[in-house]
C-alpha cells in the first residue's frame, strides 16, 4: 500500500515528473496524429482500390487477354456466393481530342456499364449518370454516337480546384475523342486494320469517372465492351477479354470467395484445354482485390511502415527521458529507499514503487496526449482550411494530390495500443533505475545521508 501512496506523492510533488509527463504527452500526441492520418490515408486508399477492382479479379498478364469468358461468367452467375461479374477488355491506346488538339496515351477499358457498376463501384465514380449508369455511353442529344467516359484527369481542363473538388459544367461538354488502339491477334501479333496498324474510332465524351485513384483517373477511358474488343483486336476469331471483376455476396468473405472462384477456374480451364486459344489460360490468374492491386498499395503500406518505425523511435526517446527522470529522482530519494528497507519493504516493493511512479507518468502523459491529439485531429481540417484561407498554405496541395479531407478518424484499437505502449515505455525506462534503487544496501544509504 505504501508503494502506491509514495509513488503518487512522488508524482505530484516532484516538478521533474511534469517534464516526463510532458515528454510522454508530446510523444503520444505526435504518434496519434501521424498514425491516424497515415492509417486513414492507407485505409481510404485501400477502400478506393477495393471499390475500383471489386472483390476478386480474374486477370490475364498478357495484353492478348483470354477467351471463352462468357461460359465462365454464366457458371459464376450460378454460384450463390457471387453477386455480380463484369468482363473488361483492356488495351493501351492513344486519344486525340479534336477540340483541344490534344493527344495523350491512355488505357482503354471496355466495359458493360451495368455489370461493371454491380461488380465494382463504377457508377459512384460518375458525375452525370451516377444514378443511371446503363445510359452512360449514350448522349441524349445524339443517341447514334458512341459515347465514352474519361478518367477525370484525362481531359486537360484543369478543373480541379484548390480544395480538391472538380468543377463540372451543367451538362457534358461537346467533345469528340478519337481513340486509337493496337489490335493484337491471339498470338500477340499486331493485326493490320485496313492499311493501318492501329484501329481508330470516334467517341463522344459523355461523363467523367472520378475514382480518386491518380493512375486510373489520369489514364483510363471507358468505352463499351464490344468497341474496346474491336479496338484491341479482341473481337475475333473468338471474343476475348482482359479480366473479370467479381463482387461476392455480403455474407462471403473475400478469402473464401476467391478460393471458390480459383477452384471453379481450375476446373473450367481443365475442361476447355483442348479449345483453340486455350493456351491463353496459362496467363490468367485468380486474385483477390488486394493481390490484384498489390503493386499500387504496397508502396503506400511500406511508407506507412516506415513512418511507424520512425515514430517508434520517439518511443525510445520517451524511454530515455523517463530513465533520466527516474535516475534523478532515485538519486534524490536514496534516503527514502534506505528507510523503506529498514521498515521491511522488500526489494520487489522498491522496484514496484518506481514502476508505479512510471505508470503514473505514462498513464497521465498518454491520456493528456490522447485528448490533445484527438482534439487536434477533430479540428485538423478546420485548421488546414483556416491556414489556407489566411496564409495560403495546405498540407497537401489539392490541385496536385488526389486527397480530399485529411483523415482524422481515431481508431480505438490504435489509440489503445499507443496508450499501452506509452505506459510500457515508461515502465521500461524506470526498470534499470528501479532495480538499482532496489539493490541499494539500506545501511550504506542511511549512513551516507547522515553525513
Amino acid at each position: 500500500m505504501i508503494k502506491l501512496l509514495l509513488a503518487w506523492r512522488y508524482f505530484i510533488r516532484r516538478p521533474i515528473s511534469i517534464l516526463a509527463v510532458m515528454a510522454v504527452t508530446l510523444c503520444v500526441f505526435i504518434v496519434l496524429v501521424v498514425m491516424t492520418v497515415m492509417n486513414g490515408l492507407v485505409r481510404d486508399f485501400k477502400q478506393k482500390n477495393h471499390d475500383y477492382a471489386g472483390d476478386c479479379v480474374i486477370t490475364s498478364d498478357s495484353l492478348v487477354g483470354f477467351a471463352y469468358y462468357e461460359e465462365f461468367m454464366d457458371l459464376l452467375n450460378q454460384q450463390p456466393f457471387v453477386e455480380a461479374v463484369s468482363p473488361v477488355a483492356k488495351g493501351v491506346g492513344l486519344v486525340h481530342i479534336k477540340q483541344f488538339n490534344w493527344e495523350t496515351g491512355i488505357e482503354i477499358h471496355g466495359i458493360d456499364p451495368v455489370l461493371h457498376s454491380k461488380a465494382t463501384n463504377f457508377a459512384d465514380t460518375l458525375h452525370y449518370q451516377r444514378k443511371s449508369p446503363e445510359n452512360v455511353f449514350q448522349l441524349p442529344s445524339n443517341p447514334q454516337q458512341v459515347g465514352c467516359v474519361t478518367g477525370i484527369e484525362v481531359i486537360p481542363l484543369g478543373r480541379r480546384s484548390s480544395d480538391g473538388t472538380y468543377r463540372y459544367p451543367p451538362s457534358p461538354m461537346q467533345l469528340e475523342l478519337l481513340i486509337s488502339g493496337f489490335p493484337l491477334n491471339m498470338r500477340g501479333g499486331l493485326v493490320r486494320a485496313g492499311t493501318d496498324l492501329v484501329s481508330t474510332k470516334s467517341f463522344t465524351y459523355c461523363d467523367d469517372s472520378h475514382s480518386e485513384l491518380v493512375k486510373v483517373d489520369g489514364a483510363v477511358v471507358y468505352v463499351p465492351l464490344e468497341q474496346a474488343q474491336i479496338l484491341c483486336g479482341m473481337d475475333s476469331p473468338v471474343k476475348r477479354i482482359s479480366s473479370l471483376n467479381i463482387r461476392f455476396t455480403e455474407a462471403t468473405t473475400v478469402r473464401s470467395g476467391v478460393n471458390q472462384v480459383r477452384q471453379l477456374w481450375q476446373d473450367y480451364v481443365a475442361q476447355n484445354s483442348d479449345k483453340p486459344g486455350a493456351d491463353l489460360f496459362a496467363n490468367v490468374r485468380v486474385q483477390s482485390w488486394q493481390e490484384n492491386r498489390r503493386s499500387i498499395i504496397a508502396p503506400m503500406e511500406k511508407e506507412q511502415m516506415m513512418m511507424t518505425m520512425l515514430f517508434l523511435m520517439l518511443g525510445v526517446i520517451t524511454v530515455f527521458i523517463v530513465f533520466v527522470v527516474m535516475y534523478m529522482i532515485i538519486s534524490h530519494k536514496s534516503k527514502d529507499i534506505g528507510i523503506l528497507k529498514s521498515i521491511g519493504l522488500p526489494v520487489s516493493g522498491i522496484l514496484w514503487l518506481f514502476q508505479l511512479f512510471a505508470v503514473f507518468i505514462g498513464l497521465i502523459g498518454a491520456l493528456m496526449g490522447s485528448v490533445s491529439g484527438w482534439i487536434f485531429l477533430y479540428k485538423i481540417n478546420a485548421i488546414e482550411d483556416w491556414l489556407y484561407e489566411h496564409y495560403n498554405w495546405q498540407l497537401w496541395d489539392r490541385t496536385v494530390y488526389a486527397i480530399g479531407d485529411i483523415p482524422n478518424h481515431v481508431e480505438p484499437d490504435v489509440l489503445a495500443v499507443i496508450i499501452v505502449s506509452a505506459v510500457l515505455a515508461c515502465m521500461i525506462g524506470a526498470m534499470v533505475p528501479g532495480l538499482q534503487a532496489a539493490r541499494k544496501k539500506p545501511v550504506r544509504v542511511l549512513q551516507v545521508n547522515q553525513l
Partner: protein, 230 residues
Amino acid sequence: MIQVQKITKSYQMGKTRLDVLRGLDLSVKKGQFVAIIGASGSGKSTLLHMLGALDRPDNGSIYYEKQNLKDLRWGKLNHYRNKEVGFVFQFYHLLDELTVLENVMAPAMASAGMLTWLSLKAAVRQRALDLLEQVGLKERLVHKPYELSGGERQRVAIARALINQPPLLLADEPTGNLDSRTGHGILEILKQLHNVGQTIVMVTHDERIAAQASRTIRLVDGKIQESALR
C-alpha cells in the same frame, strides 16, 4: 532474546582494512533496556545495524529467539525488520512526502497488500493515533516532517518504530541530534516504554544518557569491555 556470538565486521578503506568488530559476544534478555556506549568509530552503530538486520557480520552469528539471522531468506528478513524490530535513527529518517500520521503507519502499510490494507487500515490508524498521543503529537497529524522540530521528528520516529508492536526496539543515538532538554524528553519516552516491558537496545556516546538504561555495555576496539547490570 538476542544472542550475539563472536561477530566480526571489517571495512576496506582503500588499501587499509578497518576492523570494527572483533569477535564480539553479547546477550540481551527480554525486557532489558541496554545502552551500548563507546567512542566514535568503536562499532556501536555497526552492531546495532546488525541487530536490526540492516547489515550482516563477516563472521559469527546473531540469534534472535534462537533463530540465526544469517539463515533468514529475503522474505523472512523483511518480516524481521518489519515486525520484530523497530528502528529509531539519530537523524530520524522520516519520509518527507508523507504526513506525520502516514509516517507512523508506514511500517504497517509496507507489509500490507492493497486488499489487506483495506481491512487493517482502521485498526492501524487507531494505533498510530494512540502512539502519537502517547508521544504528545496528536495535534500534528497532517504536518510534514520538515514542519516539525528535531524533538518532534524523533518522537514521530519512535511512534513509527512501535506501530507494529515489535518485541525489540533499536535506537541509534536517539538524542544525539537534539538539545539536552529535548533529548531528556525522548529518553523519558524510552524509559516509559521500558517500564511497560519493551526491550530496548540503545547506542549512545553520552555516559549520562547511558546511565538511564538498566544495563550498560562499553564497546572498546570492537569488543565488549564491560557490562554492568543495574
